[in-house]
Symmetry: C2
Subunit: 440 residues, 2 copies
């Protein structure tokens, strides 16, 4: 979704780019610390990072979108209450344990928020909690409280990069996007993603900070609109997280003459971060971009795009640089046939990399077409699997995004004027390895 | 779904069991042959099997259910017409190419049916075509016609096993189920499955033969009912094939005193074959059985069960014998939250292997529970992955079904009296290997 494509030759080059884009908007301080703990539920010790994002002065200009999963985590339950409150002073994020459906989860989170408030001289109710990691386990409250002063002691107001790193779980690299506004002020967003990604109304953990003066109502409308055109349109594995959160907060320090530019800026940051999350999805070798156009509605276009990128068989074929376009047709045909989508199958055409491969219910294939499609798939590959030393444990071959090329698919329905661009991924040995024993 | 559990120590023992259950009902003959061909669309030669199932006398008692995919194959388009016809004389099945969305696919299939009819002395319109394999490629009509006489020459009326073998694609072993009816006569079914399996109204290729005298209307009602309680309730990869077909034909040779026993017999054959198809799904190490009960409707129970078995993250965890029950909760919560399923999340409880692990929105976990769940998962494993010689190409470790144990999950909704038992699978390196380059 980024308008200009980035590419990097090394981790160092990527890090350098991140650092240059990590400057905090005015009015914020951030700090991190870490701790070790032994979960109550399993005997193996783990390491957890804490991240604190604090406002110099409490703000009423904050907005958040949450998962629609029916078993939301304790931070989501609390966050929904916080949205009703008058002010936000800080956000506390931990990785490793998501505090979802754990006994006493809400009470534990409130206790820790209270302690953050005490350290900052503000009420605990102005602290927004956010957690990601294993579902069902209890937070190690005492160890977390003990690690909070170190996070406060590390406060600085220059760079969000330490936080972008500290919130990662299986992410390979931090994700930061920024927009400088023409009238002054900036918007900076960070995201953690990797797995359990098919957002619905919001996704993953995303924190977007700005110093631009915007009213609460305006801020919330802006986030609604931006999330709908970005995180809503991606899927890595069709699993909608119990912890999805996108938070936008302003320190209200910089007066803005141009609200439209602010809105466009938030949209741009959201779309770029959504693309980053997909590209750094667990085990992702290829990003697949499906543009569905000529649809009766944007919702239908999105559903058909998702049907393509969530098809396990198509995902595997793309992983193998195998242009098995029959599976593309199968995935679309399933969705249309089963949902009764109001389109005429005989009018549908499909192209890959601009090459028409299907129209009038007939494939347009030849060895020459096949050759060009294979070249396109290979060109969009981020890395190839390498046989692991133990024969089983596949590890991703990169820790930075080499390029932003995608497998480009276009589906034309000739059934209306709506469209949607959906981003998804292939399915690899690295995904299986990562998720066959995630908690160990 | 089988009521008594089978287990086998070796391929030979499984083959022996298949042979003993393969006797054809009276009034049928079967034959097979094979051919090599070079597809128009790709330069690599392939090998194809032809299977002919012929009735001694044309019958009007035949029924079929087809895929709801919006891009059905030519055999489905023709099959829907055949259902309107007066008589069925034979079924011709080929593997390797599914004849879906291929240029001139219907004409080619009709041409080959005409040739089968000529050899049998019947009209081509009494021949039912069925194809499975690569989507989009053209059938090698000339080579297929040339191989037909050999299939006819091999006709015999003893065993369906050669056909159960010849229709396989990525299946590891043939699938046959039979029921002997108390009043005389029998029902014998065969199936090919493996990938692209989330049936909708029908699935895969399944052929069920009987010699029991049943009217066409009765036969069709019986198949409707049996498919709804069997193939409709399984998923290997959520991909609904463009070729799904279940066909039931009677030679009408044996008068039956007991129509209820016949119906129950067809139901039993369908349920057992559905279980076989799942157990022999591509790369399957574990079969997952989810019983959803206390549901407002059977359809809702089925959707929730499918949401569990189609969750990539839960599939991977099961593959690693990792009882990551958080992903089970996440998968259910996604479906309920996004579809707006009319149930109260706080009333839902879940158990694995009879052990309650979730109730009142809270996990019930401990190291002891974890240990018992790991043991249950390991007990349901069919085989473990072995590091492949080339480091990349994982091959299934078995070519027969060692046992019929499942990962047993129960979800209680307390929201009604309907229930559904859904069968699904884990997700493995073998699935990725199989599907990263299926066509080569």
């Amino acid at each position: 979704m980024p308008t200009t494509q980035l590419s990097f030759q090394s981790r160092a080059e990527h890090r350098d780019w991140l650092s240059r884009n990590a400057a905090l908007p005015r009015g914020f301080r951030v700090g991190t610390s870490s701790l070790t703990f032994v979960p109550v539920e399993a005997p193996k010790p783990g390491r957890m990072n804490l991240s604190l994002i604090a406002l110099d002065r409490p703000t009423d200009a904050f907005a958040a979108k949450f998962t629609r999963n029916a078993f939301p985590g304790a931070p989501i339950l609390i966050g929904r209450q916080r949205l009703q409150g008058a002010a936000l002073s800080a956000v506390l994020v931990n990785n490793k344990i998501s505090n979802v459906c754990a006994p006493g989860g809400v009470e534990t989170a409130e206790q820790i928020c209270g302690e953050v408030g005490r350290l900052l001289g503000r009420p605990g109710a102005e602290v927004f909690p956010s957690s990601t990691g294993v579902i069902g386990w209890r937070l190690p409250a005492d160890a977390m409280v003990a690690a909070l002063p170190a996070a406060v002691a590390s406060f600085q107001s220059q760079s969000i990069l330490p936080v972008a790193e500290a919130i990662m779980t299986t992410d390979l690299y931090p994700k930061i996007r920024r927009v400088e506004l023409p009238g002054g002020g900036s918007i900076v967003g960070i995201a953690k993603g990797a797995g359990m990604i098919e957002p619905n109304l919001a996704t993953m953990l995303v924190f977007i900070l700005t110093d631009v003066q915007v009213s609460r109502a305006e801020l919330r409308a802006t986030l609604d609109e931006a999330v709908d055109g970005s995180f809503q349109d991606i899927s890595i594995d069709s699993d909608t997280s119990v912890s999805d959160t996108v938070l936008l907060a302003s320190s209200n320090v910089v007066a803005t003459p141009d609200l439209a530019a602010f809105r466009a800026g938030v949209r741009q940051v959201c779309r770029a971060l959504a693309g980053d999350v997909v590209r750094n999805g667990e085990g992702v070798h290829h990003v697949i971009r499906v543009l569905v156009k000529g649809a009766p509605s944007r919702q239908i276009a999105r559903e058909l795009g998702k049907a393509v990128v969530n098809s396990p068989l198509f995902q595997c074929a793309v992983n193998g640089n195998d242009p098995n376009v029959g599976r593309l047709v199968c995935a679309l045909g399933k969705e249309i046939g089963i949902r009764g989508t109001p389109v005429d199958p005989s009018k549908i055409s499909m192209s890959i990399a601009g090459e028409c491969i299907f129209s009038q219910c007939t494939m347009r294939l030849s060895p020459a077409v096949e050759e060009r499609l294979v070249a396109h798939l290979k060109g969009a590959e981020l890395y190839a699997s390498v046989p692991p030393p133990d024969g089983m444990t596949f590890k991703p071959g990169i820790d930075y995004p080499k390029h932003e090329r995608c497998v480009e698919i276009e589906v034309s329905l000739e059934a209306g004027s709506a469209s949607c661009e959906v981003l998804g991924t292939d399915r690899s040995h690295e995904y299986i390895t990562e998720n066959a024993d995630y908690r160990s």
